[in-house]
């Protein structure tokens, strides 16, 4: 396996494992009766915007893509 492929796999796996832990932690908080704040939702919305902006930047920077 090439270094590029290995790096690609590592990046993807860390992305998947990271969010799985966040979702599991969130589920635990809900079960414990913790309230989700508006600030958390706003923060997550910003994260969504950043992710979408990153996608747009990657797909529009190279006209051949």
């Amino acid at each position: 396996m090439s270094t590029t492929s290995t790096l690609l796999i590592l990046k993807l796996v860390s992305e998947g494992v990271g969010v799985a832990k966040e979702i599991a932690d969130l589920a635990k908080r809900v079960q414990a009766g913790d309230e989700i704040t508006d600030a958390e939702i706003e923060q997550a919305r910003k994260q969504v915007s950043e992710s979408v902006a990153k996608w747009d930047a990657e797909t529009s920077s190279d006209p051949e893509k």
Binding site: I23, Q31, I41
Partner: protein, 208 residues
């Protein structure tokens, strides 16, 4: 009898990262078994498929959770086993996708299944939205990584761009509806459909 039903209703399954991680290989194992079984005439009948695969999935999950020492392995195995058994179409015909990268898409897929199928999240609309936002961000980030690696054609990139923006719009609509007091807006099912499509792309390309 009523008391027993009430006891069943009161059962809560504590979701752990280990449960989610174990459910991914189980999902792939089930799809592999499905792919093999489709070559046998007996298993081609819909009635057989509907009952056989969930049973196998539940049995595998209960067994794996027992070996892993997960508490409440029976009820957790039934819940996760059903989720992994093919209630999700994205795995269909994907036996060839059993490769390490596809596991990431599998984890994200499990997150989506849990958010939209788990009572824990349904009981808290804000948590359901927050979990969806986080899963969507991770999905878009993963797709961006694959895009940088040159995994998508021009046409696929265009389709993905449309889907990604639709997903973002539905999340904003969902948040607005929640603030207005509507806990089950149409945007939820629309968002779910978009997320499913994005994850299917990732499953296919992650396994290439």
């Amino acid at each position: 009898m009523e008391e027993q039903i009430q006891q069943l209703n009161d059962i809560e399954v504590m979701l752990t990262p280990l449960m989610m991680v174990l459910a991914v290989p189980i999902s792939f194992a089930i799809q592999f078994i499905k792919a093999l079984a489709n070559k046998i005439e007996f298993f081609k009948a819909e009635e057989i498929k509907k009952s056989f695969f969930p049973m196998i999935s539940i049995a595998l999950t209960i067994g794996a959770y027992y070996i892993a020492g997960i508490q409440d392995f029976i009820i957790a195995g039934v819940v996760m086993g059903l989720a992994a058994s093919g209630g999700y179409q994205a795995f269909s015909g994907s036996a060839k996708l059993i490769k390490p990268v596809a596991t990431t898409a599998g984890v994200l897929l499990l997150c989506a299944i849990l958010i939209f199928g788990c009572e824990t999240f349904k009981s808290d609309p804000k948590a359901e939205l927050l979990a969806s936002q986080k899963t969507f961000s991770a999905t878009v980030d993963s797709l961006t990584i694959l895009q940088v690696a040159g995994k998508f054609s021009t046409e696929e990139t265009e389709q993905l761009t449309v889907l990604i923006h639709q997903g973002q719009d539905y999340l904003i609509e969902w948040e607005g509806a929640l603030k207005a007091g509507n806990t089950r807006p149409d945007a939820i099912s629309l968002f779910q459909a978009v997320l499913n499509q994005l994850l299917e792309y990732e499953l296919v390309k992650g396994g290439d």
